[in-house]
């Protein structure tokens, strides 16, 4: 049976979902949001719905449509606003951190406003206020100029910019992970500090970083375990939202995340390594 793509696209539910997603991606610019909606519909309907007709029928048309549309919204924002230049470590944390950085540091929105925006029921994202608060705290600790009007556009120098992990679709290599692990160890230490201050980079710190990196690598986690951690601790999603997204029972993400963190904690203790 062939799918009636125009009916599906112009259905009330799809249009509402599209509007909602465009509004989430484009903050405070109604005209650009409307333009994004138009862009997506134009691209979808181009050449007699050619983009949609690539669908081979294994998945449901609506699931497929959400994915192409989400892709097109991202494409539109990149074309319209270009690539913003947050620090490399922040980009490595993923798009949610970049969004928070943009809202708190660039647009100078109040912390509570940002938390409400991402954690309200109507946002549909299933994010937890504590996690979002913690991410904002970490960004602010790492970037003391965050929210100041004359802040630099980016903390990265040109050499670092060359190490870009290709935000447009590249996979982060293990080599790059090893190279920049020390930076994330510092970030983890910042998260634990009562009064965030710059962590000293000395030879001793480098050696500890190397040891912890090797230790974590040897834990041999599954991809599902790693993704669940990312979804909760980096993207701020609640465990129930993760379970829904990955199609697993509700108790699985919370249990798995706990187990993995415990494994790391035990491994660190065995080697007399401490984060603080």
């Amino acid at each position: 049976m062939s799918t009636n793509w125009s009916a599906l696209v112009f259905s009330e539910k799809f249009m509402a979902a599209l509007e909602h997603q465009a509004a989430k991606k484009i903050i405070g610019d109604i005209a650009a949001k409307d333009e994004a909606v138009t862009y997506v519909i134009e691209k979808l309907s181009e050449n007699d719905w050619q983009r949609c007709k690539v669908h081979n029928g294994d998945s449901s048309p609506s699931s497929f449509l959400y994915l192409i549309s989400s892709n097109l919204i991202v494409e539109y924002t990149r074309k319209k606003f270009g690539r913003i230049r947050p620090p490399e470590w922040l980009k490595r944390e993923g798009p949610f951190w970049v969004t928070l950085w943009q809202e708190v540091c660039m647009n100078r929105l109040l912390e509570q406003t940002v938390i409400d925006r991402h954690c309200s029921n109507s946002s549909g994202s299933g994010r937890e206020p504590f996690t979002v608060k913690n991410i904002i705290r970490t960004i602010k600790a790492k970037l003391p100029w965050c929210g100041v009007s004359n802040m630099p556009e980016s903390m990265d120098d040109e050499a670092n910019a060359e190490k870009n992990y290709q935000a447009e679709g590249g996979t982060i290599s293990d080599e790059l992970r090893r190279e920049s692990f020390e930076e994330f160890l510092q970030l983890a230490q910042l998260m634990l500090a009562d009064e965030p201050s710059e962590i000293e980079q000395d030879e001793n710190q480098k050696a500890i970083s190397g040891k912890i990196c090797a230790l974590v690598e040897s834990l041999d986690m599954t991809n599902e375990e790693q993704l669940m951690l990312r979804m909760h601790y980096v993207d701020g999603l609640s465990h129930s939202a993760i379970a829904r997204a990955l199609g697993v029972a509700k108790h699985i993400p919370v249990r798995q995340n706990k187990k993995v963190l415990q494994r790391l904690q035990e491994a660190l203790a065995q080697h007399n390594l401490e984060l603080e």
Binding site: N4, A7, F10, S11, E12, K13, F14, E19, H20, Q21, V37, I41, H55, N56, D58, S59, P61, S62, S63, F64, Y66, L67, S69, S70, N71, I73, V74, K91, R92, G94, P95, S125, F130, N134, A167, G169, G170, I172, R177, F181, F184, L187, A188, M191, L192, I212, V216, E217, D220, M221, N223, E224, Q226, L227, L229, R230, Y233, L246, V260, L275
Partner: protein
């Protein structure tokens, strides 16, 4: 005190998670072929094989741009789902409101017919009402159809659009539509060419109004 301890523990968990998330993967086998959008849709529906699923999850974890697209689609689906639930709750409420008035009408009718047997009529009316209400409840519980495969794919084009758009042109609801082409889109206005089964071509204009039920 307990809150403080919980917060400390949460911060510690976050810090440990940072290390796990950014450590090398030691993934000698790689993540298989590059994932397609169709495969991501299959992942959302739980239709990928175990092995491929694990590979795709690895790609999502290691590729922020891919993850962003996938998350966006999840949020869209979740929003559409919440609209489905709202519509279903509304339909339930309406059907529950409609049931007593039907009951009332039948009771009146029976009461007029058997005026000398008022008590009998009322009890019969209540019994009939119970049956009708349970029937309506059954119907409305089935009304929450999947929008992708149910309403949107099979309904004629007027049906889904009526709810969300202002119809500027005019097509008699009984006429059959053979094909619809999008001529152009201007802001929230869509210009369509509708070809009827009779061969007649009609130009239509729809104005989309967000949030309008």
């Amino acid at each position: 005190m307990t809150n403080e301890t919980t917060e400390k523990q949460n911060q510690k968990d976050h810090a440990l998670a940072q290390l796990l998330i950014h450590a090398p993967r030691n993934n000698a086998g790689g993540y298989g072929a590059e994932v397609t959008l169709e495969e991501l849709a299959l992942l959302n529906e739980g239709k990928l094989s175990e092995q491929r699923r694990e590979q795709v999850l690895g790609q999502l974890d290691s590729n922020p741009a891919l993850y962003e697209i996938w998350q966006g689609s999840q949020e869209m689906a979740s929003h559409a789902e919440s609209l489905n639930l709202e519509a279903s709750t509304e339909a339930n409420r309406t059907s529950k409101q409609a049931a007593p008035s039907l009951l009332e009408q039948i009771s009146h009718f029976l009461s007029d017919l058997f005026s000398w047997q008022g008590a009998f009529a009322t009890s019969f009316g209540i019994a009939l009402g119970v049956i009708l209400m349970s029937q309506t409840g059954l119907d409305s519980s089935n009304s929450d159809s999947d929008f992708g495969q149910g309403i949107a794919m099979q309904a004629p084009i007027q049906a889904p659009q009526k709810a969300s758009t202002d119809h500027v042109g005019s097509i008699a609801p009984t006429q059959e539509i053979a094909k619809v082409e999008v001529l152009r889109i201007e802001g929230n206005t869509v210009h369509l060419k509708v070809i009827l089964t009779t061969g007649e071509e009609i130009n239509e204009t729809y104005v989309y109004k967000p949030g309008k039920q």
